[in-house]
């Protein structure tokens, strides 16, 4: 490539403030054709704002614009709307899907840009009575899908697709824009955390597709929290922290701990949590699941038998949709369940959260916003509510317990304690839960569970959607809680590495059953085999 050629995209001295609050300052970078740029940073580091500026989103104009210049092919541009950005050949795939579930892939890809056919009626009543040119539509969408080299059926309804295919549909839509005359060619694609919802296999094929696109000269800005992906697929890595670029450099030879360090400005390393040797000798079984079935949509549990030993951290892994999430949700009673759950030798009646909590167990849900939090209430309420209702904590009792008054002072003290202990970033404990970032919300959920001082804690996807700094804090907090309080922890996660980092042993769930249990020190390849259903000789289902 000619070095003198102007780079595809250059951003010079970009700065942005929201009402005096500086969120970006002096951001400079260039992007060549066919280059994949990995953009990483903690939540709130300014990645999204930077992308919004590039796209000319309304939000930026309404808050007073930005400073600095954007150069596209060496020419200065300033997009007033995102449509102008699209016309200039920039495509964006957002983290949340914007697809119509009851439409096919083709229909979604070409929505509102369908090629049309004239009919008699359109002669009479105007262009609004044109009909869709189905053949041409299929042709265009197939062409777009082909560029991705993925097995995506253009006729499949979005509602029936696995998440990975939905993501491909989104990308295919951006690519198809050059086929319909809107743009002369897509030059730059921004992918905002496209792999966050994908399983590892799906993510792999997405990364392959990205490489293919890059080879055809499309530049890609790739935002992800999964650092290994960034290292694998990107040519250049750009790390942001507090609105500044901390580091830009080729991805060759960079290791995850380096990136993590640049991101948070201190040493973080999930693997720094040392493996411990848990002594199973003479340990009692604290929880026994027998023939457990759970009717949780998308995560059906068919027949789970599992013994949990007192004091251990046991991980439950497996692929999405195989039923690992159903286990805690069913045991707690949030979804219809059957079978036997024996805790400390006593049978726990199912389908009643109260019995589960009364027995001394707690559950941190994977659905933070739906189940885990009172979004409209203060942090104090969120932390104290369960403990107050189940164990009568933080209450002043009058008239022989007839009148139970909320003890505001005790609640405040307890919440402040957790805010300090878990490094929850908030303006005060009176702040509403919905105003916190994902990582801090997760910590509130943990604090809520810690407040009931459970003997056994189920933690479901504790690090989903939170950045690496918060992640390691959450994992460390769990390990610390386990060691100091002796609380048994059952942790469910889709990220095997995370389970291997803090668990003593890991059960792999597939098709609603436990396929096998391995010590966490086992090679990850062995787990991989187990997940796809291939047992090697060393696995003997269920034993320690």
């Amino acid at each position: 490539m000619n070095e003198k050629e102007a780079p595809l995209l250059e951003m010079r001295h970009i700065s942005k403030d929201f009402f005096g609050n500086q969120v970006l300052s002096d951001v400079n970078f260039t992007l060549k054709r066919g280059e994949i740029l990995g953009l990483v940073g903690e939540n709130g580091a300014g990645k999204s704002t930077l992308m919004k500026i590039l796209f000319g989103m309304d939000e930026i104009h309404q808050t007073g614009g930005y400073g600095g210049d954007i150069l596209l092919n060496g020419e200065k541009v300033a997009f007033a709307t995102s449509i102008e950005a699209l016309a200039a050949g920039i495509g964006m795939v957002h983290q949340e899907f914007s697809l119509l579930p009851d439409f096919s892939a083709t229909e979604n890809i070409l929505l509102n840009r369908e090629p049309l056919k004239y009919t008699v009626f359109s002669e009479l009543f105007g262009e609004r009575l044109n009909i869709l040119d189905r053949e041409k539509m299929t042709e265009i969408s197939e062409k777009a899908i082909k560029r991705l080299a993925v097995p995506l059926d253009p006729e499949m309804l979005v509602s029936q697709m696995p998440v990975g295919h939905k993501q491909f549909t989104e990308i295919a839509r951006e690519l198809s824009k050059e086929g319909t005359g809107l743009v002369e060619g897509i030059k730059l694609l921004v992918l905002d955390e496209p792999t966050a919802v994908l399983s590892e296999q799906e993510a792999d094929s997405l990364l392959k597709a990205m490489r293919l696109l890059a080879e055809t000269g499309i530049a890609i800005i790739f935002i992800s929290h999964r650092l290994q992906e960034i290292i694998d697929v990107c040519d250049t890595i750009m790390v942001m922290r507090d609105g500044k670029i901390m580091k830009t450099g080729p991805s060759k030879g960079v290791a995850i701990p380096d990136i993590a360090k640049w991101m948070v400005g201190r040493e973080v390393n999930t693997s720094a949590i040392v493996h411990r040797v848990f002594d199973y000798e003479n340990k009692d079984i604290i929880l026994a699941l027998r023939n457990l079935w759970v009717d949780m949509p998308g995560e059906v549990v068919r027949n789970v038998n599992l013994d949990v030993y007192k004091g251990e951290i046991i991980g439950i892994g497996g692929m999405a949709g195989q039923g690992k999430l159903g286990i805690p949700n069913g045991a707690m009673g949030l979804f219809p369940a059957g079978g036997h759950v024996t805790f400390e030798g006593k049978d726990i009646p199912l389908n009643s959260p109260r019995n589960f909590l009364d027995a001394g167990m707690a559950f941190v849900s994977e659905d933070r916003r739906g189940v885990g939090l009172l979004l409209d209430e203060t942090l104090e309420w969120n932390v104290s509510f369960t403990a107050m209702q189940i164990q009568e904590k933080y209450l002043k009792q009058y008239l022989g317990g007839f009148f139970k008054w909320r003890d505001q002072k005790a609640i405040e003290e307890e919440t402040n304690g957790y805010v300090k202990q878990l490094e929850i970033r908030c303006t005060s404990t009176k702040q509403k839960a919905k105003e916190l970032s994902g990582g801090n919300q997760q910590k509130i959920c943990l604090a809520k569970a810690f407040a009931v001082a459970p003997k056994l804690l189920f933690v479901s996807e504790p690090t989903r959607g939170i950045d690496i700094g918060a992640k390691s804090l959450v994992l460390k907090a769990l390990r610390k809680y386990n060691e100091e309080q002796g609380t048994t922890i059952v942790m469910i996660s889709s990220e095997l590495e995370e389970l291997r980092a803090i668990c003593d042993r890991i059960a792999i769930v597939s098709d609603g059953k436990v396929l096998g249990i391995l010590p966490a020190t086992t090679d990850s390849a062995e787990f991989g085999l187990l997940m796809v259903g291939q047992k090697s000789e060393m696995i003997d289902g269920g034993s320690v």
Binding site: L373, L374, L375, D376, F385, T386, M388, Q389
Partner: protein, 353 residues
């Protein structure tokens, strides 16, 4: 920087009070300023406003428990009112007079309110998400049912039944000799010839408001707010969501029953048959104008909302009448009250999910 801070703090204060309340408040103030110029006695106006505030405040308060538990706005208020009517008429039937008739009316109304509220609560638990529509029709159909019952029930007190047939209750029954003005006259303060403050009625409301406020600070009250805020969260914390919701409906129904008794003692008449039909909407509007959302309401919302709503409703017809010198107070009252209801319902806000 400092001015910026000041502006933003002023902004946030205004925002928390809410633009609708500021606009309505200013309009009410304008009416009070205009009143003397068009020959309306300010003392009488103020006295009327205070009176109407006292009469309606308890029924607006009846919205609070159901809003807190996420059952939405209590459009089924007529059900509570019917319990109150039964209490009032029974107390008169058994010839209790003076203040004791009011006490007995409350006592008689309570079991009806509890039973009706419990049934109403069970119904609402079966229609989660569509409470407000169902509640409206619960209100309407219960009124229709009671139209039959008022005729058939064996009341015999001659002050209450139709004179010519000797059976069946009249459409309006005077509370004179029974509980007329028992609260209004309790420690009432006569400031001028036209301005009297109905202290007893305010005190009674204050006591009820205090009870509700205190209840919301107890363990069960906290659970009620949590159920309204996120029922799934509450369930995951071991709360029996249906039970809490039923409790809130019973409380709302009981407050509705008490509310109508307070209303009657000041108004002077018990209005049967279609009387309760239109009582829910003004109460719903008052609390919405006071700044409540579909699942958040405070005692302040009740007080501010009732005052603004009743203030406008009292002042507009009298001021307008005097300005245009024709008697169309009833028309104006209908236009204003329905206009306010319409406005309030468009201001409805929901919580984050």
């Amino acid at each position: 920087m400092n001015t910026q801070n000041m502006i933003s703090s002023v902004k946030s204060t205004l925002k928390s009070f809410g633009l609708p309340r500021i606009i309505i408040g200013l309009f009410l103030l304008l009416l009070f300023i205009l009143a003397p110029f068009v020959g309306v006695n300010i003392g009488t106006s103020l006295s009327d406003t205070l009176n109407r505030f006292g009469m309606n405040a308890v029924m607006v308060l009846a919205m609070v428990p159901m809003i807190h538990s996420g059952c939405g706005l209590n459009f089924g208020l007529p059900l509570g009112i019917i319990a109150g009517l039964l209490g009032g008429t029974l107390s008169m039937q058994f010839n209790f007079t003076g203040p004791s008739s009011f006490m007995m009316a409350i006592l008689f109304a309570t079991p009806f309110a509890v039973i009706l509220g419990w049934g109403y609560g069970q119904l609402l638990n079966k229609v989660k998400g569509g409470e407000m529509m169902i509640a409206t029709y619960v209100g309407f159909s219960s009124v229709a049912f009671m139209c039959i019952m008022w005729l058939l029930l064996p009341y015999s007190n001659p002050t209450m039944v139709w004179g010519y047939s000797g059976s069946g209750l009249r459409t309006t029954i005077s509370t004179e000799g029974y509980y007329l003005h028992v609260l209004n006259d309790f420690f009432s303060i006569r400031l001028t010839e036209h301005l009297t403050i109905p202290t007893g009625m305010f005190l009674f409301f204050a006591v009820l408001a205090l009870i509700i406020w205190a209840f919301l600070h107890t363990k069960t009250g906290t659970a009620m707010t949590a159920v309204g805020s996120n029922p799934v969260f509450a369930r995951a914390s071991g709360i029996n969501v249906d039970k809490i919701r039923t409790l809130s409906v019973v409380m709302s129904t009981w407050l509705g029953a008490i509310g109508i008794l307070v209303y009657q003692q000041s108004f002077g008449f018990i209005q049967l048959y279609m009387g309760p039909f239109y009582m829910a909407l003004p109460a719903v509007s008052a609390i919405l104008i006071g700044g409540a959302s579909v699942n958040k309401a405070t005692i302040t919302n009740v007080i501010v909302g009732t005052f603004l709503f009743q203030g406008i409703l009292t002042m507009t017809p009298s001021v307008m009448n005097s300005m245009i010198h024709t008697d169309m107070s009833e028309v104006i009252r209908i236009v204003v009250s329905n206009g306010m209801i319409l406005y309030a319902l468009t201001r409805r806000t929901e919580a984050t999910r």
